[in-house]
C-alpha cells in the first residue's frame, strides 16, 4: 500500500475502466461469448439437448453447398433485400421531403408515418393478413374496383415474397423518414437559396444540393436497412412460416427452422455464421463505397 497504488487508483485509467467495465462485461457475456460459442457449435453435430456433441469438422459447412433449401433461402433473401432497401430508402426520402414543409397538422402527418414503426410487428402482420386476404381482403376489393386482380398475395407462391416486401416497407419506412427529416432540417437554408440565386430550379437544387448533403443519412440508412433486410424473420414466421411451397424461406427463418424445429443446431450455427460473414462483407463494401461518395461536411 504505497503512494503508487494510491496514484493508480486515482488515475483516469481506473475511472475510465470502471465506467466502461459493466457495459464491457455485459457485451462480453451476451455478445462475445455466444458469438464464439456459436462458432464452435457450427463444427458440431448437436440438437442442444443430447449430452454428446461430436465435432464433425467442416461437415456443416460442406453440407451448405448442396442444400437446395439453403440455396432457395439465400435467393429469396437477396431478392427481398434488393427490393426492400431501395424502396424504403427512396420512398422515405420522398415522404421526408413532402413532410419537411410548414403544413397545417404537419405533426399529425409525421406521427402517422412513424406509427407503424412503433406498432408491434405481429399486430401489423395480423392487419395485413386481413388486408391481403384474397377473398375477403380490402386490397383485392379496392383493386377489383379499378378492374385489377384478384391476387393471391400470401397464398400465391409467386406473390408471397412481394407481399412481404410491401408490408415491411410500410412497417419500416417511418424510421427512415425520421432520419431523413432530421437530416433535412440540418441543411442550412442559405445553401439552397444560393443555388436558386445562381439560377437552379427547385428540382436542380434538390438534386445537386439537398441530396448530396443527405449523404451521411442515406449511407446510414442503406447499411442499416440492408442488415435489417438480411435478418427478415418475424413477418415470415407469423404470416407464412416460409410458405407457400418455401417461397418465403429466408435465411434467418431457415436458421430458426433448423435449430428449433428440426433439432439441427450445429448446422443452423453454420448457416448463421455464413449469414454473418455475408453481412460483414456487404457492410464493408457499402461503407467503402460510401466513403468515396459521401461528403460529411457542407
Amino acid at each position: 500500500m504505497g503512494r503508487r497504488l494510491q496514484r493508480a487508483v486515482h488515475s483516469e485509467h481506473v475511472a475510465g475502466w470502471a465506467f466502461a467495465g459493466p457495459a464491457m462485461l455485459l457485451i462480453g457475456l451476451f455478445g462475445v461469448v455466444p458469438i464464439v460459442w456459436s462458432f464452435v457449435l457450427s463444427f458440431q453435430k448437436t440438437n442442444l439437448l443430447a449430452p454428446a456433441r461430436p465435432f464433425v469438422g467442416l461437415d456443416n459447412y460442406h453440407r451448405l453447398a448442396d442444400d437446395p433449401l439453403f440455396r432457395d433461402s439465400v435467393h429469396h433473401t437477396i431478392v427481398y433485400t434488393l427490393l426492400f432497401v431501395p424502396l424504403s430508402v427512396i420512398g422515405a426520402l420522398l415522404i421526408a421531403v413532402a413532410l419537411n414543409r410548414p403544413l397545417r397538422f404537419i405533426r399529425l402527418y409525421r406521427t402517422a408515418v412513424f406509427v407503424p414503426v412503433v406498432a408491434s410487428t405481429i399486430a401489423t402482420s395480423i392487419i395485413f393478413l386481413q388486408l391481403f386476404d384474397p377473398n375477403f381482403g380490402l386490397v383485392n376489393w379496392l383493386l377489383g374496383e379499378v378492374g385489377l386482380g384478384p391476387y393471391g398475395f400470401l397464398q400465391d407462391p409467386d406473390q408471397a415474397l412481394y407481399s412481404i416486401v410491401i408490408l415491411t416497407v410500410w412497417g419500416w419506412i417511418g424510421f427512415d423518414v425520421i432520419i431523413f427529416l432530421a437530416a433535412l432540417q440540418g441543411i442550412p437554408h442559405e445553401l439552397i437559396e444560393a443555388a436558386k440565386i445562381d439560377g437552379a430550379s427547385s428540382f436542380t437544387a434538390f438534386r445537386r444540393v439537398v441530396v448530396p448533403l443527405l449523404g451521411p443519412a442515406t449511407l446510414f440508412l442503406v447499411v442499416w436497412s440492408t442488415i435489417n433486410a438480411l435478418q427478415l424473420f418475424d413477418e415470415v414466421y407469423f404470416l407464412t412460416k416460409g410458405g407457400p411451397l418455401f417461397s418465403t424461406y429466408v435465411v434467418v427463418y431457415y436458421v430458426f427452422d433448423l435449430a428449433f424445429q428440426k433439432g439441427l443446431a450445429g448446422y443452423a450455427a453454420a448457416v448463421a455464421y455464413t449469414l454473418f460473414a455475408a453481412i460483414l462483407v456487404l457492410t464493408m463494401i457499402q461503407l467503402g463505397i460510401g466513403r468515396r461518395m459521401v461528403h460529411y461536411s457542407s
Partner: protein, 453 residues
Amino acid sequence: MAPRQHTSWKSKRIAAALVAGAVALLVAACGGSSGGSSSSAGASSGAAAAGSTSITLWHGYAAASAGEEPSAEYDSLKAQVDAFMKANPNIKVTMTYVNSDDALQKLTVALQGGKAPDVTYQYGTNVPQLATSSSVVDLTDRVADADYNWNDFPAGERDVFTIDGKVYGVPALVDNLAVVYNKDLFAAKGLKEPGPDWNWDELVADAKALTDPGQNQFGLEWPIDGSETEVWKYIAMLWEAGGDILTPDGKKAAFDSASGVTSLQALQELGKAKALYLNSAPDSPKASQLFNAGKIGMFVTGPWNLSEFPNAKYGVQVMPMFPSGSHDTIAGPDAWVVLDNGPQRVDAAWKLAQFLSSPDQVLADSLATGHLPTRSSVGNMPGFSAFATKFPGIDVFAQNLVNVKKARPPIAAYPQISQLIGNAVTSVVLGKADPQQALDDAAQQADTLLAAG
C-alpha cells in the same frame, strides 16, 4: 400440436435481429451460467423448508388477467395442483406459465443453465428430441406400476411418448381431428348432412356444392403453409386410405403408396374445383372466424376450436373414409415430462405427474374444460355424461378417440419428414404438381434423410 390457444407474440424486429445474430444469442441464454431470466422459476425450488420438497411445474395455460374471461384451463389445473398439495403436504408445487409453442425451446435453454423445471408440458412431437437428453427421466418402470394402469391410455397416446421402448412422458392432453360442418350451409344447398359412414367422395361432392365464389363461400378449409397443422390433417387422410408414413421397420418412406396418391387426389380435385379455402396462416384465428361467419362449409379440426364458433350452427362428424379404408383420425397427445433434479425431486415430480393423469383428475379436468379424457376408462365413469353438454359435438370427438389407431413416427427426424410431406401436399393443392410425382419426390428425399440417420 395444434393452436390451442392464441399465443401472445410480442417480439419486434429487434428481437429477430437477436435470432439472426445467430443461434448464438439464444445459445447465450442457454449458457445460463449468467442465470438466464427464463429459468428463474427453478431457482426458488432450493428454498424448501426442511423435510419438504419444492418442485416447479411448467404448464401452457395462461391465467386470465384482470378483466378477462376466466381461463377454465388454468383454473382447472390450479385446482388440481392445489388438491395435490393438500394430499401431499410435504410437496410444494410452483406453477409457471410457459407458452406451449415455446416449451421445447425454453426447456432446451433451461437445461443448458441447469435450472430445469421438474415437470413440463410438452407437445408429443417434441418427445423424440427430448429423449436424447440425459436430464429427461425415463418413466418406463414407473408407468409399469399396476396401480397406474398405463394401458388405460389408448395406444395412439402411449406410442407417441415411447421412444425405442422407453417411456418419456405421460398424457397431459389429447385431441383428434374430425369434420366440423355448418348445418345452415348444408341446408341452404339442400345437402344431406354427413353421416357416420360417409366417405371422401361424399365430402368432395359436398365441398364442391358448398362452394360459391359469388358469396366468397368455400367448401373446406385447408392449410397451405406446409406446417404440421397441414401435415397432420393429410396424415389422417393417408391412414383413412389404409396407408402409412413409414415402412413398419421405420427405415423408409411409405407415404408414396397407392393410398398416399388416392388421398392426395381428393385434395387435388378440391383444389382444382376451387372448393378449398387456402389458409396460409393456420395459426391465426382467421379460418375459425370465417367458419363462424358461415363462409366455410367444412373444417377439419379438433375440439379446441368449438368454443370459437358461437355464431355458427355446426355439427361434428368423424373423418370420412376412402374405399378399403376406415374412419381413422390422428391424435395430438401432449405430455407431462419429468426432469431429473435429483432423486427426491424426481419422486415428487412423478407423484405430481401421476396425480394429474389419474382417472379422477382426468375426469375433473374434462368436465371443467371440455378437454377430451386421456384415459379410456374415464368415458365409463359416473359423472362423465355431463361432458357431452359442454359444447355441441364434443361427444363426437370423445368417441372419435377409438379411431386413433396409429401415431406419427416418434423419431427425431420426423419434423424434416413432415416438412417434405407438407411441401408435396401444398404443391398438389395449389396445382403445381401431380400427386404421384410430388409424393415420389418427397419419399426419395425422406429415404435419403432416414438413411443418413
